[in-house]
Assembly symmetry: C2
Homo-oligomer: 164 residues x 2
DNA sequence: GCTATGTATGTTATACTATAACAAGTCAAG
DNA sequence: CTTGACTTGTTATAGTATAACATACATAGC
């Protein structure tokens, strides 16, 4: 059921462990905040974690419907929207896709690094980036509420492996 | 034919002058680089400049077709793609929209500040932001080729004018 | 218990965004 | 005037996202 992950977020790691850890954090977070991490929502998050790369809403929907959940777009979009709002997932606008957050709970304004060859998506720590952005905005009198910082390029593996 | 601009990029200015200036720059740039700034492409850029805010591809298409150009999506998408590739316009992914570049010719990695109330879009200087992003990427061994930096929030006018 | 209320899910239908593929026209070099 | 590169137009279709309504489920009062 699970695609072979073609991304390791730029570094080999014990993926089963990392996914399990994220789920545990998500459940703790839901308990603390009184959120309802229902079966569809939980399964959606698991799907994102298993894929370990950005998935389109319809990719998620395919998997959900194959497991007996609704098979219409709103089912996936609503679950994904919930996860994004709660900070458990992020939306990658450049890819029209979603990815599980790797630092749930920690307040963070992430930057995403997208490899154009292998489609890996890494969530880079971006406190400094966000600070610079806040500065640029406040110079114009603008107050930032949400931000999307996305970069396209080559991940370490693809950079050394291929010349394109 | 021209919408009342609801944005002034956060500052009053002589819009006719600013648009004319941008067109002049675009033509100079095209001459220098041997590009073909054809009627559709030129008109598309003018439309973006007149609107002075981000326009969807279909908004542009409506205007183009009303003026006798083709009325099918590829007409607009191709002209917009050309402008973006030549650095004469930018794509705002958060809005599925396009906006004329306010600094054509100058190498720049812009950040876009999008007001969620009045839809104004400002192109903020973001050299510092981009530098911080490059640093974050290189720490992970990632090489950035293109980036989208977009922020949603409140522009100065909407911040003082309304409490929402 | 039983109902009222809010929330979540399922479903239908449709709107919006984007591109593939091919045909026809334009332009400049040779 | 023919060739070849490029631009525009058109048809058709793919891909992304949401509105609106119906049903089911939970929890909290009564
Ligand atoms: Zn995150
Ligand atoms: Zn890669
Ligand atoms: Zn620009
Ligand atoms: Zn505003």
């Amino acid at each position: 059921m699970q695609d072979a992950p073609n991304s390791r977020a730029f570094a080999r790691h014990d993926h089963a462990h990392c996914a399990g850890d994220m789920m545990a954090r998500a459940e703790a977070l839901s308990r603390d905040k009184g959120l309802r991490l229902t079966p569809v929502r939980r399964r959606t998050l698991e799907i994102l974690l298993e894929a370990h790369r950005a998935l389109g809403a319809y990719d998620v929907l395919d998997r959900l419907s194959a497991e007996g959940y609704g098979n219409q777009p709103p089912v996936a979009y609503r679950a994904l929207e919930f996860l994004v709002e709660q900070g458990l997932a992020h939306r990658i606008r450049r890819l029209n896709a979603f990815t599980a957050c790797m630092h749930p709970g920690e307040a963070h304004a992430p930057a995403f690094l997208i490899c154009r060859l292998c489609d890996a998506v890494a969530e880079a720590p971006a406190a400094a980036v966000r600070a610079a952005l806040d500065k640029a905005a406040s110079d114009l009198g603008f107050v930032i509420e949400r931000s999307n910082i996305e970069a396209l390029g080559l991940c370490p593996a693809c950079r050394t492996g291929a010349a394109a």
